[in-house]
């Protein structure tokens, strides 16, 4: 079994603010991330897959097919967007990078078998860095 990881980058803005919390609670919990006009990040997304090495190609995954999937389902959807305003899943869900990672995993997982119909390669993890110091990882079953 081989694990292959591929990195992608996109930039987007967000504001961390929960309707279920008061103004002061929001400010207390989210700090700078709650400033009213939002702010942006250069997100670094790492998609990890696993599978056996296929004899014909010597590879565990067709990275061109993976690039196309990530580009169509994720980069085109999220790049240069305001996550709160433009991504329907974040209308009522705070676009923390935890939730963004889970949403990216869900989107990749829902199209995975269309692109990779066999048992392998399998989607192993989604790892997303919001800055170089804040990194979130979602594993196989979509749990944090």
């Amino acid at each position: 079994m081989i694990h292959v990881s591929r990195k992608y980058r996109f930039s987007a803005s967000h504001r961390l603010h929960s309707e279920q919390l008061s103004e002061s609670e929001n400010q207390h919990i989210y700090g700078k991330c709650n400033y009213p006009f939002g702010h942006g990040h250069n997100y670094e997304l790492e998609v990890g897959v696993k599978g056996p090495v296929e004899a014909k190609s010597g590879r565990a995954i067709d990275t061109t097919a993976l690039d196309l999937l990530v580009s169509t389902e994720i980069l085109e959807a999220f790049a240069y967007k305001n996550l709160n305003a433009e991504i329907s899943e974040f209308r009522n869900v705070v676009p923390t990078t935890e939730n963004l990672g889970i949403e990216i995993h869900r989107r990749l997982n829902s199209k995975w078998r269309d692109v990779f119909p066999g048992q392998w390669p399998a989607l192993d993890k989604v790892r997303i860095a919001e800055t170089s110091r804040n990194i979130f990882e979602v594993s196989e079953n979509g749990q944090k």
Partner: protein, 138 residues
């Protein structure tokens, strides 16, 4: 405890399956099938697993690990054309996946039964693409 050492080598390769036609190779590997080959600065991270020796405080003497990597990885791989100069790539396609497996096979005999056993080999072909091999364990 896991302990990881990183080394680097530069090499060229062609991703090409001789059992396939030129157009099939092109379709499968894209530009990587270019018959003249192309190169990368590969980064290899070797991870050992073990508990520190109570006397030395070390899992494995890092100087010894450095020497093993130098002898069994850097010396055979560095500045070589993998397909033509490094066995087993005369008959195995030198993808990053197969390079990781080969490096594992080269190192494992020298680390088995030691305090720090080989746990994983990570090979970066570029900054944006790496593979992990854990000796057949998932």
């Amino acid at each position: 405890m896991l302990i990881t050492k990183r080394v680097e080598f530069s090499a060229s390769h062609i991703c090409h399956n001789p059992g396939l036609s030129e157009s099939e190779n092109r379709e499968l590997f894209g530009a990587a099938a270019n018959p003249h080959g192309h190169g990368h600065n590969y980064i290899v991270e070797v991870t050992l697993k073990g508990e520190p020796d109570p006397v030395t405080g070390m899992v494995l003497d890092l100087k010894e690990l450095k020497d093993l990597l130098e002898r069994y990885v850097i010396e055979p791989y560095d500045h070589r054309f993998l397909n033509y100069e490094v066995a087993p790539f005369d008959h195995i396609i030198p993808t990053a996946e197969n390079v990781a497996i080969d490096i594992w096979k080269r190192l494992e005999p020298h680390l088995s039964g030691r305090r720090g056993e080989l746990h994983g080999v990570r090979v970066y072909e570029t900054d944006d693409l790496y593979v992990d091999y854990f000796g057949g364990k998932s």
